[in-house]
């Protein structure tokens, strides 16, 4: 059987990726520029035995996908910045109770209603630090329609493996542009599925790790196992506990399971010169601008692009390795968010430059090239 191919929007590709990953439950609230995901979910999900629920707000949407996932159905939602703000409360529940699910944020300009609904990349730090309390985050960032499809499948797989919510951080440009996308050979996409816990119900400990070092499988509500999903500090069984040592162990375990999986999660593409005089670090729509520069080159030196497809956990070792000692430029459609992590990783003396635009407009190749040629090289 040959590969299916289609010319569709990034948002539509995200929905197709979710279906290919086996997702069968969507709860959401319409918001531009993400609404095409909900619309396609409403049409496609019931046709494959799935469920689309349009909730009263994003608080409810996030809660509903946690509930659906615990009921055994891979679940997801899609929104933009204002909606993501409302989801933070219950995103914390998914982290705390170790419930796999996927949240798509098609970023738009902020703060607040902002330049509705022009593109931006200013939710990078909210995606990392939005929910209160100590926690980690898993965030993937597509820059093409193909990556919307591929990374959405990847997001569901990571969510299932680590029993952790995964954010797909898209933007209004990637979400609305149309490109050719290959869906893969049917049957050859093999998403991670929920496994049997492999122990008896009385032996099952919900918040523990299996022999592979990953959280034990999550049985669905209604099976022979009792599952207690708890937003409060809890012991390994999910029963609430106010014991400081128990709380510390739980928080540390949730943190370490993500930060310790940085190699499993990290995804990037290296484009351009093998011995660059300058390295561009970019993600999302801005990576397309940077890619143009990596292809065309600049006056005064060789250029390479490290296109990050995962942002969190931040791939520190990768960054140190790929930059060599070349100056680094981090272009972002915000006032400088991910560049802070790059600076922290490379140290205060490293030549690291931010190029920022926060006016609802994409960074154009010419302006980035001028910056590189006039300021950096």
């Amino acid at each position: 059987m040959s590969e299916r191919r289609s010319f569709i929007q990034g948002n539509e590709a995200i929905l197709e990726g979710a279906l290919a990953a086996g997702a069968r439950y969507f709860a959401g609230y319409p918001i531009t520029p993400s609404s095409e995901i909900a619309e396609r979910a409403a049409r496609r999900l019931p046709a494959v035995g799935g469920v689309y629920m349009q909730m009263e707000d994003e608080l409810a949407s996030m809660a509903a996908i946690v509930g659906a996932s615990l009921a055994g159905v891979k679940s997801f939602t899609a929104t933009s910045g204002p909606g993501l703000s409302l989801m933070m409360e219950n995103l914390g529940v998914a982290i705390m109770a170790e419930v796999p699910c996927v949240i798509v944020d098609v970023q738009r300009s902020g703060p607040s209603t902002g330049l509705a609904t022009k593109p931006a990349q200013a939710d990078v730090m909210m995606a990392r630090w939005g929910p209160h309390g100590d926690h980690s985050a898993i965030v993937l960032a597509p820059s093409s329609v193909q990556e919307c499809f591929d990374l959405t499948i990847r997001a569901f797989d990571i969510a299932e493996e680590l029993r952790h919510p995964v954010l797909v951080l898209s933007d209004a440009i990637v979400g609305h542009m149309r490109e050719d996308v290959l869906f893969g050979v049917p049957g050859e996409v093999t998403p991670v599925t929920r496994r049997d816990p492999g122990v008896t119900p009385s032996e099952y400990v919900m918040h523990s790790d299996g022999p592979d070092g990953l959280p034990v499988p999550l049985p669905p509500f209604g099976s022979d196992y009792i599952v207690r999903a708890n937003s409060s500090a809890h012991d390994e069984t999910g029963y609430p506990s106010a014991d400081p040592a128990t709380a510390a162990a739980n928080i540390r375990r949730l943190h370490d399971k993500v930060e310790g999986s940085v190699d499993r999660i990290t995804d990037y593409e290296y484009i351009g010169s093998d011995a660059p005089d300058l390295v561009l670090l970019a993600y999302g729509a801005t990576a397309r601008t940077a890619e143009q520069i990596a292809i065309d080159g600049v006056r005064g030196g060789e250029v390479a692009l490290v296109k990050l497809r995962s942002l969190w956990p931040f791939p520190e070792e990768l960054i140190r390795r790929v930059v060599g000692s070349a100056p680094v430029v981090v272009p972002e459609m915000n006032l400088g968010q991910l560049v802070r992590e790059v600076e922290r990783t490379l140290g205060p003396d490293y030549p690291c430059y931010a190029f920022n635009r926060s006016d609802g407009q994409p960074i154009e190749p010419d302006e980035l090239r001028s910056f590189i040629e006039e300021v950096v090289l």
Partner: protein, 273 residues
């Protein structure tokens, strides 16, 4: 006496966390009896809770659970029921959880008529945080944040549920346990959204500030206040003040969300559950 209800209760977690005179234990026991009567096993039940005194109810239940965030129990419950209509899904909330911070979810769960049984322990104030007024606290009542009397009117939660479209709406009190057992059974049989509002005692916070400082005072208050709808209807207007009807107050056979969605799946060519 039939002890079958005990399998729903985690007795090893006793004593209950709640204050002496609190009505929550009475509601838990009535719920366990109703579940036992329906014959549904603990692993087929999902209890969702939020935050507040009754938000700790799942600590004492042997069912599956989601102990979520303040006001969101019905939103978690809607996701569970939406994904698997075969589960028995409960949302146990206080008046702060359901009527106040979670009011929007309450309206829409009722409107959607999704098959969740909402059981609200309405003690007319926020007990957990020290007795502040909620959206069901009557006007004029003294609480820790309405020391000169509550300037706001409280909701009649059953009226709200009926207006929003709930297919079964019932009320009882922690004094009228026979009625409570009966309405919980009716609610669990209803395929759509059910509200069981249980007027509950909080002598420590609510009662103490409103001349009902003991558990017995509060029980006498509920005994005097709650009455069958037929009797309530015939009361002269001036005697209705401070009183309310109990029992099943509203029932329709409106189709529930999951049944409607199964038709949509069939229409769309998907597999009907």
């Amino acid at each position: 006496m039939n002890r079958g209800y005990r399998k729903y209760i985690l007795e090893e977690k006793f004593p209950l966390f709640w204050c002496p005179g609190c009505g929550n234990g009475i509601i838990i026991a009535a719920l366990a009896r109703a579940l036992d009567k329906r014959g549904v096993s603990p692993n087929e039940i999902v209890t969702t809770t939020g935050i507040g005194c009754f938000g700790k109810a799942d600590d004492y239940l042997a069912t599956n659970s989601i102990h979520g965030t303040h006001g969101r129990a019905l939103a978690f419950a809607s996701g569970v029921k939406g994904a698997n209509p075969d589960l028995t899904v409960l949302a146990l909330m206080g008046d702060g959880d359901c009527a106040t911070i979670g009011g929007n979810h309450f309206l829409h769960a009722a409107r959607r008529n999704i098959g969740v049984t909402a059981i609200v322990s309405n003690n007319l104030n926020y007990g957990m945080t020290g007795g502040q007024y909620s959206a069901t606290t009557p006007a004029g009542v003294v609480t820790s944040t309405s020391v000169y009397g509550n300037p706001e009117e409280g909701f009649d939660l059953c009226d709200v549920a009926i207006a929003a479209g709930a297919s079964l709406v019932a009320r009882s009190t922690v004094y009228h346990v026979g009625v409570l057992d009966r309405v919980l059974d009716e609610a669990l049989k209803n395929p759509g959204f059910s509200l069981v509002e249980v007027m509950s005692s909080c002598p420590v916070h609510y009662g103490r500030r409103n001349r009902m400082p003991s558990a017995v005072d509060m029980m006498n208050h509920w005994k005097r206040s709650g009455m069958p709808e037929s009797r309530f209807r015939d009361l002269p207007a001036d005697e209705k003040e401070g009183r309310f009807p109990i029992g099943v107050l509203h029932r329709t056979d409106r189709e529930d969300f999951s049944s409607r969605y199964a038709s949509i799946q069939e229409e769309a060519g998907g597999v009907r559950r």
